[in-house]
Subunit: 280 residues, 2 copies
């Protein structure tokens, strides 16, 4: 497995692979890899002859008051994870490599970015679209893998690829959870022991909501009220949003139907966590 840090090197390697007729699977990450990322790498490994993982904490997708400076990293561990899961290449650029002096372009979208995380993190999806667009042009994958935990991000990337006619298939992979239910996230590392316990309220509420929908609940207002009440019973939790939205457009919906996304964002202390499920 190779680790490269310049765009030129990656393009050179990818060009050779293309000539050889290799199929490329790509897993974009911000590093500090957990089993959620691992499941994406494994999926990429199964479906492609070459697998590229990018590790890049993208400054453009963080707001000025967010955790860019404290975002966790452990390249040595990440390298071992990638190697053990059979990745062929890690692309680990410096911020200046991705955003040199006189960088002016951005990719953004309306509608899908106006609800959920987009509402509370202005500019976040502009940063995501721009960096992923760049990564797609650098790595030119046949398939790109994203976690369903960041449901809005997955929808936004799929929309970008469709709208801009990019020659890439975007594949969403299921949420991976800790044994007790908490969705895997690099940000879980911020939690103290007591916060870690309180954070279970997210997955518990998701499972509760999922059950209600399975049992026939179709009224979004009722479902959301029940989920909110559940979260509010946890003193350490502060709700950012609990919403039911169309799974493609991210527009709020009043009726739960197949493909409706029910998504939550909750602060546990200073740590912002997200979770979701899709109605079937």
């Amino acid at each position: 497995m190779q680790i490269v840090s310049t765009i030129k090197e990656v393009k050179h390697i990818v060009k050779q692979w293309k000539i050889e007729g290799q199929t490329l699977g790509f897993v974009p990450t911000m590093g500090y890899l957990h089993e959620g990322h691992g499941s994406l790498i494994t999926a990429a490994r199964q479906e492609n002859s070459k697998v590229v993982v990018s590790i890049f904490i993208n400054p453009m997708q963080f707001g000025p008051t967010e955790d860019y400076d404290s975002y966790p990293n452990d390249l040595e561990k990440d390298r071992n994870v990638c190697e053990s899961l059979g990745a062929d290449l890690i692309f680990h650029p410096a911020p200046e490599e991705m955003y040199p002096k006189d960088f002016f372009t951005y990719v953004d979208m309306s509608v899908l970015t106006e609800e959920l995380c987009g509402l509370n993190r202005p500019g976040h999806f502009r940063g995501v679209c721009t960096v992923v667009n760049k990564m797609f042009n650098i790595i030119q994958p046949d398939h790109a893998y994203f976690g369903q935990k960041d449901a809005q991000q997955l929808a936004v990337i799929k929309q970008m690829v469709k709208d801009l006619n990019m020659n890439i298939e975007v594949i969403g992979c299921p949420i991976v959870r800790e044994e007790d239910g908490l969705a895997k996230s690099s940000r879980n590392t911020y939690l103290s022991a007591i916060e870690r316990k309180a954070a279970l309220i997210l997955s518990k509420t998701i499972f509760m909501g999922e059950n209600k929908v399975k049992e026939g609940e179709t009224d979004a207002k009722k479902l959301i009220a029940a989920m909110k009440a559940n979260i509010e019973a946890e003193p350490m939790a502060k709700i950012e949003y609990v919403k039911a939205v169309d799974g493609l457009t991210m527009k709020q919906t009043t009726r739960i139907k197949p493909q409706t996304l029910i998504a939550i964002a909750v602060y546990i202390g200073k740590t912002r966590l997200i979770d979701n499920f899709i109605a079937h």
Copy 2:
């Protein structure tokens, strides 16, 4: 020569060409082709084994009060021009093919779009970047050809390709002029006989400015004042801008040096015309 109207068909043809190892030259146009476009197709023909011309009047780059509805077209003539210059494929999509229902993504940039035409045509370069980004992903050219007449557009496209790491070389081609000096433009067709004569003030002013720079003028303020006075002597002309800007960033400059762009936009009656030169 083939003419196709769907993205699917173009992608299918391009995929086959890529497998065969063909090099692709691409000339994006809004049709109503003149010798300026012709020079781009000829350049593409000389430097690539396959040449694609797109003919698409892009609604997204026109403002609400602009000439989208009256923009001239003549597909039959365009087809003959392309055929005679040796193009292999015309891509001529309908607006709904490029912008289907639920189209939300855009590509845009700061700085380069804030002066000159961008100042007076808000949203114009967002439309240009978005459609060209789409076209580049659909056609996947090795080389793309743009006229130097739309100098800011050329700079914007080069910047987009650089910033987004697209695998395309953008090539600017010299302005092509009528015998009397007027820069070729599809919009020249709007001019009445008397306006056509008055429109000569643009090229005359460009040549005058060019001479002054050759003779050693480096003071942008003086040069612009002289050029403005020249245009104002023509009663049918109304200046939109006369500016000297950095050739890469499009930022206004006070000193003329190599690569400074001197650009003008002038209304002749209701017709907006542009012209420019680059200092050497």
